[in-house]
Amino acid sequence: MSDYILEMNGITKEFTGIKALDDVNFKVERGEIHCLIGENGAGKSTLMKVLSGVYPYGTYEGDIVFEGEVQKFNEINDSVKAGIAIIYQELALFPDLTVYENIFAGNEIRKGPFVDWNETIIQASQMLKKVKLNVDPETLIKDLGVGKQQLVEIAKTLSKNVKLLILDEPTAALNENDSENLLELLKELRSQGITCIMISHKLKEVISIADKATILRDGQTVCTLDAHKGEISESVIIKNMVGREIEDIYPKRLDHQFGDTVLEINDWTAYDSQLGREVVKKADIHVKKGEIIGVAGLMGSGRTELALSIFGNPKNYKLQGGMKVQGQPVSFKHTSDAIKAGIAYVTEDRKGNGLFLIKDIKSNVTAAHLKGISARGVLNLNEEVMVGSQYKDSLHIKASSLEQIVGNLSGGNQQKVSLGKWLFTGPKILILDEPTRGIDVGAKFEIYTIMNELIKEGMSIIMISSELNEIIGMSDRIYVMAEGRITGELSKAETTQEAIMELATQ
């Protein structure tokens, strides 16, 4: 008889007639790392929200048995008290407070009515040791990188005597090094007896770390795989996730000739006066018509800054050097100039600065190119619906209607809306910043397919990505950045993960 710390039996959760979860069974053994996998919209997040009490007892059907008892959580605090902690993709830290204040935020150590700061600092240091984070507890959170912030978040949950730790895409925002550290830490915690549920899109991680993996599809449990029986492999997971076989993660594309150079920057330097340093240093790149350029590099290597400095310089860097679009020297005063010149930039942070989350799909799609649906400043709202539905169909955006609020869409569909918004501007050069971050394999494949169609139509694409596989799989040519400099240019033939990492860590 297995020792289950958690059993979720027959969980069904409906939203106004749509079954988000349909009779889901999910069992987690004590002391294992259990990965929860599924496409966007498969119901992973909903299941975890049911578990943590975001959706209170009574709003769903089925039983949650935790530590042998049926639990009736009415709010998140109830599940926290029971020993369940969730760490979301968007970290819940206070950037302007110190590490130790954050670790004990909401759980302060008291001496009488007052906070005992000395004890807090001592205990915080112990927690930091547990997560192997070597920083001064008095550092401010905003001065730490994302990877270290994640560790602080884990330290925070450990301070609350957590029994079951749930991580929602913990490595989505991390580079390879930080990701590896985190996975090591999870193994360490497992040896200390902490059970862990990890939601992840990165199959490699799942394979390297999972004891078991449960796959959800369309709100139903497909299967649970056991690593110790050798059941977990990339192909098995993908097959079960999408319900079909994907031959290759990267769609094939025919070899083709590239055209003339469409974008060129020379000796390009961007100085950030707020940070007081150069974020891009003497960069030289060129992009040809019909080419997909990969830009690789670690977090903070200046990739996004390079893109922004090209795209009308919204951060007001001090720029030096020359830029040519289709052979003509240009200098953009505003993002609108860049758009006019045929450049589009799909941001890495679609929720933060990519989309208008409270607005519907159609007004998001047209937001960057209202000229296309207006005459003399007056909008044609019917035309807008036409445009919206055209992109909804061609990009396969899954939504109940064009009036659906974008904030309620899944990550992959949001990304497609963001892409649609920029395609509607009719760009010649499309800059994609982390185009597949936090979206599932199926949606990734669709985005890659769209990219291939776009270059066939003569567009050029600059793709910034932290996923080496993606860079290698999709790019015709690769630039690698480190500390603001272009440290190397690799052709498709000479690219290996090792070659990129070597240049990225120069």
């Binding site: 941001t347 989350l357 918004k421």
Partner: protein
Amino acid sequence: MSFFNEAKFLIKSNIRDYGMYIALFVIMLTFAILTDGLFMSSRNISNLLDSAGYIAVLAVGMTLIIVIRHIDLSVGFVAGFLGAVAAIFLTQIGLSVWLVIPIVLVFGIFIGLFNGFLVAKIGIPSFVATLAGMLIFRGALLNVTESTGTIIVNDDLFNSLGNGFIPSLMEVNGLHLLSLLVGLIGIILYIYSEISNRRNKAKYGFDVISPKIFIFKLVFVSFIIGYITWVLAGYNGFSWTVVIMLLVVVVYHFLSTKTVLGRNIYAVGSNPEAAHLSGINVTKITLIVFGSMGMLAALSGILFTARLQSATTTAGTLFELDAIAAAYVGGVSSAGGVGKVTGAIIGAIVMASLSSGMNLLGVGISYQYMIRGGVLAAAVIFDVMTRRQRA
């Protein structure tokens, strides 16, 4: 779908939009019953709308300011000051009304642009920048009225903006003919625009509401316009204040819903960073919205001075808060990106109805403030609840 089911569905899915109208209807009905119909008398409705006018135009501008996540506290005393400037131009310098009004409106635009400059270019929080403006223009108002005290305006043409009515052409059974014609034209335009809108949608192959509901809606709205016209025609007809108010609503409603500029304003409000990255000039939009607010503050000052037929040392006191309250009652959200111009007008009328109705009932001023505060809180609670329901 049966008639009632569809109606129920439409109301349910648009409760946020219809909520205000229902609230206004309930408030009016309650007062009408409590005052034995006195509240709905031609004279009272006419007075009520006139007294809402100078706040309503402010509320329209304030709605857009709040939509782009700012606030303007200076508008009250800007209105007071510019009202006094108008009075001085008319009485002491002797300019004609036709010159004074555009000059004062332009002054208003410049004041608004200056606020916008402080906020958008220098980066001062709008609360602080306009708080400073509030103090400065309070001082300026006192300064220009200090030597003379209250400035009496004798210009009939100017005063008619606040008190006068559109000419009647001729009386028909004691009803105001031109007003009836205006109402009729209003109804015809409304029906025409709805029908052409529906045709257009059908042409593009979009869903339209069923014919029954459509006709019901046409009849209902036409009836409301007709009824208000009839009520007003029974007194002196449409006042100039109401005409100006309607013009402001029509223009701003069109601007905010049907133009690129309007769309950009809402985009800046819902996510300024995304707006910037979408090629929208956030600085320019901020300047335009503050400039328009300044112009409407000038208009409000003109209406108020004309209504009192004089500029006083305390004109404009607390206008800004009344305008903010009206905007929130009208459904604007402080999180930005949400709020309608038509809502602002309804909000202003709701607040004015409360004052008027309670005055008729002889409710003490102390209770009036409490009740108005309660209604403001209730409106925002309703807004928050319906939004949560939808999410």
